[in-house]
Symmetry: C2
Subunit: 214 residues, 2 copies
DNA sequence: ACTATTTTTAACTCATGCGTTCAGATTAGC
DNA sequence: GCTAATCTGAACGCATGAGTTAAAAATAGT
C-alpha cells in the first residue's frame, strides 16, 4: 500500500483509470477494476469523482493536455533559419509521430472516436485545449520559415494541417490503429516520405533539392 | 410488417443493426432495439446470428465491402491520359471524401477505432477486404499516369497513401469525427487544397502549373 | 492525545441486457 | 390441405456492473 497519504489517492486513481479505459474502452471498463488497480477502495473513487463519466472526462482532459504540451514543445524547437530544413522537419515529425504512437496518444484517439457521438461537448473541449493550439503553433513556425524565404506557403494553417497529414497520415494503418508496434525503420521511412513530399510541394524554388528517396 | 417472407428478415436485421450500432456504439447497443427496429422478434435475430458479436462482425464486413466498392469504382474512373489532371483528381477526391463522409463511412470508422483493441482479427479482415485493395487500385492509377509522363512518382503506393492523406486528412477535424455536417464550400476547399499540394509535389516538371488558390 | 476527515470493508439495491425457453401462430413447399 | 420449417410473443434465468450505505479503522492537524 504505497502512498497511504491522502492526496495522492486522486492521482493514483487517474493513473489507473487511464490504463483501464485505454485497454477496455469506456463501456467495458468497470470501476472496481480501476479501484483495485489504483490500490484504493471503490467508494474512494466516488469521493473524488462523482461518477464514471466525470472520471472519464477528467482522464481525457489530462491526457489531451499532456499530449498537446509534448507536441507543442517539439514544434517550438523548429529553428526559424532554414539550416538543414529537411533534417529539422524530419526530427520534429519524428517527435510528433512518437507522441501519437505512445500508449496514451493512441488511447486518447481511440476513446475519442468511440465516445464522440455520445459526448460531443467533450470533443469540442479537447479540440480547443489541444488540437487548435497545436496546429496554430506549427502554422506559426511554418509562416516564419516562409517569411524568411525558405518555404513557399500561401496559407500556413492549411500547410500545417497538410504537414501533419503527410507525416502522420499513415500511422493508423501502420500500427493497426495503435494496437501493434511499428518498427523503427518503417516509422523512419514513413516520416521521411512525408517530409520529402511536403518539401517537394512547399520548398522555395530557389534551392531546388532532390530528395534522397521517394 | 413489410417483407413477411423468410429470407429478407436477415437483411432487415442487418439494416437495422448498422443503424443502431452506428448511433449507439457496440456496447451501448441492445439487441432488442435492433429487433424492434427491424420489425422482428428477438429470437429471430439469434436464429440468423449466433450472438451479438457475430452480428456486429457481419455488419462491419458488409459495410466495409460497400465502402470499398464505392471508392474503387470512383478510382476506376480516373483516366490514364493527363487531360485536366487537376480537375480529375479533384473529382475523384470528392467522390472518395463523400464516401467517407457518409453516415455509414463514419460509423464504420468510429466503430473500428472503438473495438479494434477487443477485436484485432476483425480489423485485419477489414484491412484485407477494403483497405488494401482500395490503396492498390489508386496506386495503379497513379502509376499509369506516371508512366505516361503526367506525374513524377517514385513509389506509387506511397503516393497513393499521401494522396488520400492530403485530400481526406482534415475530414476528422472538419466534421468532428463525422458527428457534424460539413458545408459543401468547406469540403470543396479542403479537397482542392489537398489536390493542389499533391500536384505541387508530384506533377511532372515539364508542365509547370500554378494552382488557383492555396 | 483529541478531533475531524478520509479510507476501508463488505454488503446491498437496482437497473440493464444477453441469451434462452416454449407454446402457439404463420408461412413455404409439395 | 399437409408437413416442416420458421417466426412470434412473452416470459424467464443469470450475469454484470454502477452507485450507495453502514460501521470500523486509519490518518492529519493541532
Amino acid at each position: 500500500m504505497p502512498g497511504r497519504g491522502r492526496i495522492d489517492k486522486r492521482t493514483a486513481i487517474l493513473d489507473a483509470a487511464v490504463k483501464v479505459f485505454s485497454q477496455e474502452g469506456y463501456a467495458q471498463t468497470n470501476v472496481d477494476a480501476i479501484a483495485s488497480l489504483a490500490g484504493v477502495a471503490k467508494p474512494t473513487v466516488y469521493n473524488h469523482f462523482h461518477d464514471k463519466e466525470t472520471l472519464f472526462r477528467t482522464v481525457m482532459r489530462d491526457s489531451a493536455d499532456r499530449s498537446a504540451a509534448k507536441i507543442i514543445a517539439a514544434f517550438a524547437t523548429l529553428p526559424d533559419d532554414g539550416a538543414d530544413l529537411a533534417g529539422e522537419l524530419e526530427r520534429v515529425g519524428h517527435l510528433m509521430v512518437e507522441c501519437q504512437l505512445s500508449e496514451e496518444g493512441w488511447a486518447l484517439q481511440r476513446l475519442l472516436y468511440a465516445e464522440v457521438a455520445r459526448l460531443p461537448d467533450l470533443y469540442d473541449e479537447l479540440v480547443t485545449r489541444a488540437g487548435t493550439p497545436t496546429l496554430n503553433v506549427l502554422a506559426g513556425r511554418l509562416a516564419g520559415l516562409a517569411n524568411r524565404g525558405h518555404l513557399e506557403i500561401d496559407d500556413p494553417l492549411v500547410a500545417a494541417g497538410q504537414f501533419m497529414a503527410l507525416v502522420a497520415g499513415n500511422l493508423p494503418a501502420l500500427s493497426a490503429l495503435g494496437t501493434r508496434p511499428v518498427g523503427p525503420d518503417v516509422l523512419a521511412a514513413a516520416v521521411r516520405d512525408g517530409v520529402n513530399t511536403f518539401l517537394r510541394a512547399f520548398a522555395a524554388p530557389a534551392r531546388r533539392r532532390s530528395p534522397r528517396r521517394s
